[in-house]
Amino acid sequence: MLLEARGLLKRFPGTVALDGVGFGLAAGEVHALLGENGAGKSTLIKCLTGAYRRDGGEILLDGQPVDPRSTFEAQELGIGTVYQEVNLLPNLTVAENLTLGRQPRRLGLTSRRGMRALAREMLAGYGLDIDVERDLGAYSVAVQQIVAIARAVHLSGKVLILDEPTASLDAREVAMLFEVVRRLRDRGLGIVFVSHFLDQVFAISDRITVLRNGRHIATTEAATLDRVRLINLMLGRELEQATTHGRTAHDAGAEVLRAEGLGKRGRIAPFDLSVRAGEVIGMAGLLGSGRTETAEVLFGAAAADSGTVRDAKGPLDVSTPARAIASGFGFAPEDRKTDGIIGDLSVRENIALALQAHRGWARPIPRAEQRRLAEDFIRRLDIRTPGPEKPVGQLSGGNQQKVILARWLAMNPRFLILDEPTRGIDVGAHAEVLRLIEEMVAGGMSLLVISSELEELVAVSDRVIVVRDRSHVAELTGQEITTDAIVRAIAAPGANLEAAE
């Protein structure tokens, strides 16, 4: 075994995140690490790489006991890691992020030119031609994700660990990533791969280890496992019904909202959007095409500089989020860490926040009421938390996502925008979210769902808007909505340029 963990133990107040987990990674294999949200995958990785101090158990590298006390030491041992939340610094340039700690030097000073060259070299092979001297923060999550991967690959002499690296990548980039991963595997590296996309798991991995509730459940050859069994292993139960394609046709309701000529210079070209009651509008496009911008303009997060929004009764004010919310809008943002959760506050407070802000500070929601609300959603969305008073920052990524969904469901808005709602969510929860979407729509709510997962869009949408180059370019309805059609619309003339960029 290249990297081996025996009897790993990690406790957090109120949770045992790892309960005697064993894990073995061979050289030259891609080893998938799977489990529900909160199963302990990220914790295992953090213990292996010295980001967390473990409470017990031992780690062996090449048969020798090692004890990385910091990620720095892990890197020195040849373990490169992409952690779940992109762990790069937006205030540094791409090149600085890539070369941090290993900057080429001349005469004791770091060399700009050397850094630039090294960075370009590291990024080669990912089809990403970006200005490495610009701040990383100027780029989208996807670009950052790729940069993080490139960095980890560069650092990994022996082991590469990828914790949900594909969560915000689209198909083309995933393919490119897998290309790189295979190359590394063939060079004899051991690669740990975490993902909730089972297709990707089956596509790339040699072996699979499943964790549940902090325990090791099984390790098997990927080839011997089928999808259903894998899901059973992960959930410890049958998934009631794997959602299949095809949304039951709706009677198109009356129009409830209409945006006309809404846009913001330099961000998104003016667009029209009509929303009917109980309708799900999907939004597809390449990374950086302007989907998030559309949502932000609609919600007042980035104030529009042209256009109007109105409903049957008259114009609506959506110039700030608070006003948009007052007009019955809701928005679950894409980047949950910076835009979504209030890390130090409890699950209860996070769920009640939007409702409370809407009611104003003078009309507090009684604590008991908040608790009831929180417990209700914890049950309904199956949020894995020891209780409603747990700080939300300590939940696993997928569970944080559910808390944000709960926040907006508690508001019961008439028009809810979900930007990548299933990012980082496990299969069980994924099905759950899709079911919730159905439920909401049945209750008369209208949705705008932004997603990079085309199947998901096809499954839920009544209508799909395709965004390209910061403008809305196509709209598919009813039978037209197929993955193929969407891909074609995205890739229409001009898109190649964008992709090549």
Partner: protein
């Protein structure tokens, strides 16, 4: 209730330790007696003298909870004291002086809040502007003199006694209770904490952060105004140069000793108030113990450092880790290292 106790336990213990320490150096420290109908004694002195810092700490706690800081409170004290003294001096009476002073405090808070929330200037710098200019404004009001007055009602604010306790002590205790109630019985506390932890996310959840930030700085200004009234009443004169000088640092220290993170988020007004009393006990203790004044700063620095070290989460973690390790080794098991997550 128990949660509250657990929250303020470190502060209470520290206060106790400081009191014991001072008593060692000055044995009569803890004695309280009656003189006529009012209580006298060092503990009462601490309650009274600690009033300005305690009042400032109330506002400062809220400001810090939003991830801000207010360096201007000392200058605002001077402005408000000067305004009140000038009003009394012109014979407008206390009825006009107090509202004017409080209004001035609110105005200062509004200005700070405007800079921070609307112009988005970083809080330290935004309030540094008023810290510098504010004292000038105060001197403008008093024309550079110590504006002395002889209004007994005003003096009562600073040095009077009510039901045995000094009026300043009443002021901060009441202000603390009111602020505590307002913040915790409404949703203000939740919203402040949410803005302090993650401004962007809070805005996206519909929290009106602008109004909230302005409000918080206005509360801080108001607290400073009350503190300014008290020190002015106390010496029966508005001393624009020295009123509240460097008190902002003590107030920030009180909040920090009270365990509220300077990075915003969770806060406790009660703990900050205990922090203020800890600082005042040290100050009074130094005065009573009779060391030469050149030792004051060193003593204070060492005590503050010790207090902070004792309260440091890392140290208590390490101590706990040490305890578990000992237990484990007792059991004969291998000794794993102390848990250190240290979320910062």
């Amino acid at each position: 209730m128990t949660a509250l106790l657990r929250r303020i336990a470190p502060q209470l213990l520290t206060l106790l330790a400081v009191l014991v320490l001072v008593t060692v150096f000055f044995p009569g420290f803890l004695s309280v007696g009656f003189s006529g109908d009012r209580l006298v004694g060092s503990p009462i002195d601490v309650l009274k003298r600690g009033a300005p810092v305690a009042l400032l700490a109330i506002g400062m706690t809220l400001v810090i909870a939003t991830r801000g800081i207010d360096l201007s409170v000392g200058a605002v004290m001077a402005i408000c004291g000067a305004v009140a003294a000038a009003a009394v001096d012109r014979g407008w009476g206390l009825g006009a002086a107090i509202p004017l002073a409080l209004g001035a405090g609110l105005l200062c808070g509004l200005w700070n809040g405007f800079l921070v929330a609307v112009l988005r200037i970083q809080p330290i710098v935004a309030t540094l502007i008023l810290m510098v200019a504010g004292r000038g404004i105060a001197q403008l009001v008093t024309a550079g003199q110590i504006l002395t007055f002889s209004d007994e009602g005003f003096a009562f604010l600073g040095s009077g006694t009510f039901l045995g306790l000094p009026v300043p002590a009443w002021a901060w205790i009441l202000a603390g209770i009111v602020a505590g109630l307002v913040v915790r019985r409404t949703a203000l506390g939740l919203l402040i904490e949410s803005v302090g932890v993650n401004l962007r996310a809070s805005r996206l959840a519909g929290v009106d952060s602008t109004v909230l930030l302005v409000t918080v700085y206005m509360i801080s200004g108001l607290c400073a105004a009350v503190a300014g009234l008290i020190v002015t009443g106390d010496i029966r004169g508005a001393d624009a140069n020295n009123a509240g000088l460097w008190l902002e640092l003590d107030a920030i220290l009180a909040v920090a000793i009270g365990g509220t993170s300077l990075l915003g988020g969770r806060f406790s007004i009660l703990a900050s108030l205990i922090g203020a009393m800890i600082i005042q006990s040290i100050n009074t203790g130094i005065l009573l113990a009779g060391f030469p004044p050149e030792f004051n700063l060193v003593i204070k620095a060492v005590l503050v450092l010790m207090i902070l070290m004792l309260q440091s989460p890392r140290l208590s973690d390490a101590a706990r880790g040490l305890a578990t390790r000992r237990r484990r080794t007792d059991e004969g098991a291998a000794a794993p290292r102390a848990v250190k997550e240290a979320p910062r």
